[in-house]
């Protein structure tokens, strides 16, 4: 294997890591912090992708001069729409099911099926194509033989920005303080005057909004169709479970390991064998560490 080949595989692994992390971070918040198994996470990503598509259609029709900005606006629109939808979902449904995790699983799965069919009715069964902004097309070549696609470089930057944002939100803001206190001890936090119902709603909405951002970014490398969400949901869950459900750091470490291993395995093996090998490793790892790579040590 030549040096530039190795370098571009390392870059691919890095890119895959950020894609997986971006997909999983919203789920890690909803699943990890709140304990809600949100099977509609993939469809929320698809919703974000469709919002990006709508934004690009609106821009190309009424604001063709600033088409380059449509993608950035699309990300913001995707975040706001999916977060708003998450807020609605929490208020109408999830709120009443906190004590019944298995029912949440079924109910959110139902939501995912409904959303898929809604996408099919509204946008048609055929995939839509979100044009990649011209400044994100092509590749950056730091050295001959090594081409780093700009879309992937952008996703790396976006994931870093999202990770930083989540960190600041959870650990440096008042809201984050409330969220963490509610997650640690709900009754105590309530007694201290925190509106726990509102904290739940906001946490869920933020998790959903992040799914929207991920879906928006993934329009650059994958399809946007009614069934798009199904392609992501399994990967997102694997990353979160492998990393340890209650740990955001675990989600990132797990995404990094899976991303690098996959791009490494794909060199000697075929794509589907590499995927199978990853799944096997994850199963073995979970056998020895049932609560994931990073588990919080608590006395139960």
């Amino acid at each position: 294997m030549s040096v530039d080949m190795l370098l571009s595989q390392i870059f691919n692994g890095l890119s895959l890591f950020t894609i997986l992390a971006l997909m999983a971070i919203g789920l890690a918040i909803v699943f990890g912090l709140m304990g809600v198994i949100n099977m509609a996470h993939g469809e929320l990503m698809a919703m974000g992708a469709y919002m990006t598509y709508l934004t690009s259609v609106i821009f190309s029709r009424w604001l063709p001069g600033v088409m380059g900005a449509s993608f950035l606006v699309g990300i913001v629109v995707a975040f706001l729409t999916t977060a708003a939808f998450g807020l609605l979902l929490e208020t109408v449904m999830i709120r009443h099911l906190y004590k019944r995790p298995l029912d949440t699983l079924l109910a959110t799965w139902g939501v995912s099926l409904i959303l898929q069919q809604v996408f099919r009715q509204v946008f048609g069964p055929i995939n839509v194509s979100v044009p990649t902004a011209s400044w994100l097309q092509g590749a950056w070549s730091p050295m001959p033989g090594l081409d780093l696609p700009l879309a992937r470089v952008f996703i790396i930057a976006l994931t870093l920005a999202v990770a930083l944002g989540v960190y600041l939100f959870l650990f440096k803001s008042r809201w984050g303080l409330r969220i963490r206190s509610v997650m640690q001890n709900r009754a105590m936090a309530g007694a201290a005057g925190i509106n726990t119902a509102r904290v739940d709603a906001v946490t869920f909405a933020v998790g959903c909004g992040l799914a929207g951002v991920a879906g928006s970014a993934l329009t650059m490398i994958a399809s946007t169709g009614p069934a798009t969400g199904q392609q992501y949901i399994v990967d997102a869950f694997i990353v979160v479970v492998f990393g340890g459900v209650e740990s955001l750091i675990g989600t990132f470490v797990s995404a990094f390991m899976i991303g690098q291993m996959q791009s490494l395995f794909e060199m000697p093996f075929s794509g589907s064998m590499a995927k199978a090998a990853i799944l096997l490793l994850v199963i073995v790892a979970l056998y020895f560490r049932p609560s994931g790579l990073f588990s919080i040590k608590v006395r139960r």
Partner: protein, 396 residues
């Protein structure tokens, strides 16, 4: 355990019902009085992941049926459509096929898209003596007395595509496909074909259906520098594959890429800009310049909207309905064995040109066409073969 028992009860009930019926009910006399409409089934996925491809196919079949009804029907009887949703789920396909044959008693079914769904319904059609028209190009290696295969087989797509690439683009090939029966079988046929032409395979890779990560194989392609990439990737993965190829600097303009499973309709979802210069090999392209095709395209757009795009499977599905009508008229009966017998050597001028059902193997003599995607998502046809004899079991 309960599941097995329930299945057993279901099956035995079905058998009991079927055997309790007078023998005549299952044959031609069951099709009521001559003035009643004759029922046919349409069985495609309207929901689920494969709906993307199948909805248009069902639309084409309904258009053909409407045209036949407007012209007076078949043997003086109007056609009544019973449509069922296979829901992209193979067991559902089998269940719905049984419903169409046993409780609706349809004269023929137009349906299925994936080989897997066809294999799921095959035993049902053989058991209840039904007749299925299957429109998708497939890997061959199958024959059933109760199925008419109106799409191309490997001899009519992969092999002419490889010959054309070897003549025009070069002799080193990189094979890439989704990981299921069609790509693997196609490439099993492709390898000896390439060897026979003096070419070599410099890489072969498969990805799970729905896979969205192709960066590693793109690196492999860059290292192997093949003269041509032969792709049997299907469905949504194509979007990721072409987008990622393009952003890595590999485009249809600087690398010969031939897709065996990308029609004009799928080009919309992949993004037309990502496909410019990519080759496709199909029996039918919307851009075929013939009066039959112009009529078909105009009728389809008038019925379903001017922005709709047609593809190979849709054209084959449309032709299937007419092939059934012609066979019924030749047989003078809706009885399945008689229709099958009448189908042998049946000729018809389809949108794709003159086609003929084979004397014995239930497939069509077809043209293979190779073309290049233009920026508008339509195909610039570069090559058209003479009629090729279908052969689902090629000797290699």
């Amino acid at each position: 355990m309960t599941k097995t028992r329930r299945d057993f009860i279901k099956t035995s009930l079905a058998v009991a019902v079927a055997s309790a019926m007078p023998a005549g009910l299952l044959s031609s006399t069951s099709f009521a009085a001559a003035s009643d409409p004759v029922k046919v089934g349409i069985l495609h996925s309207l929901t689920g992941s494969i709906a993307i491809a199948e909805v248009g196919v069902a639309d084409a079949e309904k258009l053909a049926i409407e045209e036949i009804n407007a012209a007076g029907g078949v043997l003086g009887r109007q056609i009544e459509v019973v449509q069922e949703d296979g829901a992209s789920d193979n067991p559902v396909f089998a269940e719905k096929a049984q419903k169409l044959l046993v409780s609706d008693k349809v004269a023929a079914v137009f349906g299925c898209y994936t080989s897997a769904s066809r294999k799921a319904v095959l035993p049902v059609f053989e058991r209840y003596k039904g007749l299925l028209y299957y429109p998708t190009h497939d890997e061959g290696l199958e024959f059933s007395n109760n199925i008419m295969y109106t799409g191309a087989d490997a001899v009519q797509s992969a092999i002419p595509a490889i010959q054309w690439l070897a003549e025009n683009k070069g002799k080193t090939f990189f094979l890439i496909g989704s990981d299921f029966i069609y790509p693997r079988t196609t490439n099993r046929i492709a390898r000896p074909t390439i060897a026979k032409l003096g070419g070599t395979v410099v890489g072969e890779d498969y990805f799970p259906l729905g896979s969205t990560e192709f960066s590693s194989v793109i690196n492999k392609i860059k290292a192997a520098k093949p003269d041509a990439i032969l792709s049997t990737i299907v469905g949504d993965s194509n979007v990721s594959f072409y987008k990622q190829l393009n952003s890595a600097g590999i485009t249809g303009d600087n690398q010969a890429i031939l897709a065996l499973a990308v029609s004009e309709e799928e080009a919309i979802g992949i993004g037309r800009e990502n496909l410019v210069g990519v080759h496709s090999c199909m029996g039918y392209f919307q851009s075929i310049d013939s009066p039959e095709n112009q009529k078909f395209v105009a009728a389809f757009k008038a019925r379903y909207g001017a922005d709709r795009v047609l593809g190979d499977t849709m054209a084959a599905a449309y032709a299937s309905v007419f092939l059934w009508k012609l066979a019924v008229e030749k047989a003078g009966s809706f009885d399945v064995p008689q229709v099958v017998a009448a189908s042998s050597n049946l000729e018809y001028t389809a949108p794709e040109g003159q086609v003929r059902l084979h004397a014995s193997n239930h497939r069509l003599w077809k043209h293979a066409r190779i073309g290049k995607f233009k920026p508008d998502g339509q195909i610039d046809i570069l090559f058209e073969s003479p009629l090729i004899e279908p052969n689902p079991f090629p000797k290699l």
